[in-house]
Amino acid sequence: MSGAGSTHAAERRLSQLITVLAFAMPVVFVLVPLAIFLVYSFFSVDQGTIVHAPTLGNYVRFFTDPIFLPVFWNTIVLCVSVAVICILLAYPAAYFLTTLKGRWRYALLMLLLVPLLMSYVIKIYAIRSILGLNGFLNKALVALGILDQPSTLFVFNMNAILLTLSLLLIPFAILPIFLSLERIPQTLLRASDDLGASGLQTFLRITLPLSLPGVASAASFVFVLAIGDFLTPQMVGGISGFTFGRILYSQFGTAYNWPFGAALSVALAIVVIAAILIGERFGRSRGTSV
């Protein structure tokens, strides 16, 4: 819009208004709330009211209390495991998609992404009923003779959270891996074939290294989405499946300690930012040079 600086006064006023809006909107509705949130993490609570005096108490409590650091660490391990499971399932599927031609490729990709549009809450509920004592998983395992009787191994514990999050987040792993596989020039594969490499050699030396940026983005997507979720652990975690997201959420509900919750959020944000930066770093390094 290089013509915005025309002589019409109305137009100039409009463009000034747009300038103000363009800066004000993100600042007022994103930056200011986050800044207030950060400031809150240095406040404290006394008798159910928030004390507006700076203190490092929340952070000291996070690092010294024997509860929080182990849960924090376990949650990180859990979410890394979710990312690994998602990639192990998503990579072969994405690879298979790229072997298909034309319409089929995108039709099948669409088919694998459609479940994303389905209500998150409903999916958690359905997965819980599949994993439960009377659920399909137990019935199948008993029918196959793997289990003697239905087991409570798959619901209301950490396993349940791991399985449910993996099921929910697979599509987020498929898309970036598919995009990075699709971007590999076919000529490279043909050249490798011409030079006498076997299918496996071509895969290990050409395809896999060139698709790693997509794997890195997929891992960081899945990890970030998994660690921020408090609905799934709340719903399928039971008493033993305690995650960081749940503790954080409880600070704004039953525990009613907003400043401490804000401090926990800062810890969560730091992990998330680190994951995004790592994903970005490895997701880009080779992708752009091809």
Partner: protein, 266 residues
């Protein structure tokens, strides 16, 4: 490239099938339950019924939540498309301060929703804004803005500058160029952004739980009901929403994607 299926191809196809089954099984459960009665994990296949759909029509609580969700979705789409397009137009080709503000716009989308939601919750309390549908719409708009902004910005970047220059050369002023050249070229990107924004808003749960007042949207209503277990009519609702979603996807794929590909190729 042989046409015979090799072992590796069969392996890949098997994994892909497994993934599809895993992804669709949670959708399958409510749909089957909407037509058949399930007791103690056993489906009674002998007597299909539409009673769940009849019950849904009488469930005013859920229908009210659905209406609220649609209202919130439409408001979010209007706000995010208008402001996302304005922001994209403003920052397109302008580099001072763009990367920082772009980063700020993307923050709520990158951060876990619990952080964006809690930050907004505290913000609304500090400025004395009572939690209501307005705060929900603000929360959703902040969340989806990045997607609309990016969709429109990418279209702007792929648009040839000569179009705008030609318009000025032919004597059009800024307004005419905007209405006759820029906006029509952006329209399919805006529609695409709007569909994405609506889909995200329709299912947004975590931010909504934190910033909603007494009126809850459908996902939040479902979340509250889930502790006690769902009544069968919820399954009917789920089946209907799924059909609607698939229809929307097919329509979007049919009308939107080929046109986008065609414009990108030109």
């Amino acid at each position: 490239m042989s046409t015979l299926p090799r072992p590796s191809t069969i392996f890949l196809a098997a994994i892909t099938t497994l993934v599809a089954v895993l992804l669709y099984s949670p959708l399958f459960v409510p749909i089957v339950s909407s037509f058949f009665i399930i007791s103690h994990g056993n489906v009674d296949w002998s007597s299909p019924t539409l009673s769940t759909y009849v019950a849904l029509a009488g469930n005013h609580d859920i229908l009210a939540a659905l209406r609220t969700t649609l209202v919130v979705g439409v408001c979010t789409v209007i706000l995010s498309v208008v402001s996302g397009t304005l922001l994209a137009l403003y920052y397109h080709g302008r580099h001072s301060g763009r990367s920082i503000l772009q980063f700020i716009i993307f923050l709520p989308f990158l951060m876990p929703p619990i952080i964006s939601g809690l930050a907004l919750l505290i913000f609304f309390r500090e400025i004395g804004l009572e939690r209501s549908l307005l705060t929900v719409v603000i929360g959703h708009t902040v969340f989806v803005l990045a997607i609309v902004y990016r969709t429109v910005l990418m279209r702007l970047q792929s648009m040839s500058r000569t179009l705008v220059e030609a318009s000025y050369d032919l004597g059009a002023n800024g307004w005419q160029t905007f209405w006759r050249i820029i906006l029509p070229n952006l329209s399919s990107a805006m529609v695409g952004g709007a569909i994405l924004a609506f889909a995200l808003s329709f299912d947004e749960t975590m931010i909504t739980i934190l910033v909603t007042g007494t009126q809850s949207t459908l996902p939040v209503r479902l979340w509250a009901m889930m502790r006690l277990g769902f009544s069968p009519d919820i399954n009917a609702l789920v089946a209907l929403i799924l059909m609607f979603t698939v229809l929307l996807c097919v329509l979007a794929a049919r009308f939107l994607i080929p046109r986008q590909m065609a414009t990108e190729r030109n």
